[in-house]
Amino acid sequence: PLQKEHQSQFQMMESAFYHMPQPSDSERLRTYLPRNQCSTPVYYIQQ
């Protein structure tokens, strides 16, 4: 069974789960052409 400290850890983790890091959080800010992800057609080049 989870100990008490694990329960509180889980609560903190769960709230962080709803604010997951975004890819752009780890990248230099691009002012001119910012990352603008969108779902492109599957038949386009993906790699």
Binding site: T31, Y32, Q46, Q47
Partner: protein
């Protein structure tokens, strides 16, 4: 036989649970690790383009920071003084550059849309851009297909190459639409 969870019966319980509640056994039976978005057969190292623990695909070329002198970096103050991106002013090879180097980004669709307006068509099966060779007579033309000499854009050699194509109109993409922003 061992009658607790440390024998074969214990394992059998997991196996049977897999049928009813796969979420219960995600650790014991594992998952298909080739489906986590990593190309495990890649001859190159994965870490340089690793998109991170939550990404289900590697970084795209434009996602990789490369160290450039700070003077090259643009900040908000001078951003507005620079001309906006106007694709209709760019030559074709820059449009192809933007199409092939901004996968999964609005720019890829914007470049496709501009190429479309310049009479290029994207072949959805061959995954190449094609345009008619000016002045070239079609060998065959029906309501569903045509055959003749066309230019296609050769990504490897980065140039237009003339080639005979049998063009099934249903395989050509219509005008690309840019959703949202």
């Amino acid at each position: 036989m061992v009658n607790d969870q440390f024998g074969i019966v214990g394992l059998l319980t997991f196996i049977r649970a897999a049928e009813t509640d796969p979420n219960l056994v995600s650790l014991a039976l594992g998952q298909d690790l080739t489906a986590l978005g990593l190309n495990l057969n890649s001859p190159d190292n994965l870490y340089p383009t690793f998109g991170g623990p939550w990404a289900d695909q590697p970084c795209r070329p434009q996602d990789l920071d490369f160290h450039v002198p700070p003077e090259y970096l643009i900040n908000t103050a001078i951003r507005d003084k620079l001309a906006c991106v106007k694709l209709n002013r760019y030559k074709e090879d820059l449009l192809f550059f933007m199409f092939y180097n901004n996968v999964g980004d609005v720019l890829q669709i914007a470049a496709a849309s501009e190429l479309y307006s310049r009479e290029w068509r994207y072949h959805m099966e061959e995954k190449v851009w094609i345009t008619q060779v000016p002045g070239m007579v079609l060998m065959e033309k029906t309501s569903t297909y045509e055959r003749g000499m066309y230019y296609f854009f050769d990504v490897q050699n980065w140039r237009k190459v003339a080639k005979e194509f049998y063009l099934d109109y249903s395989k050509l993409e219509g005008r690309p639409i840019i959703q949202g922003s």
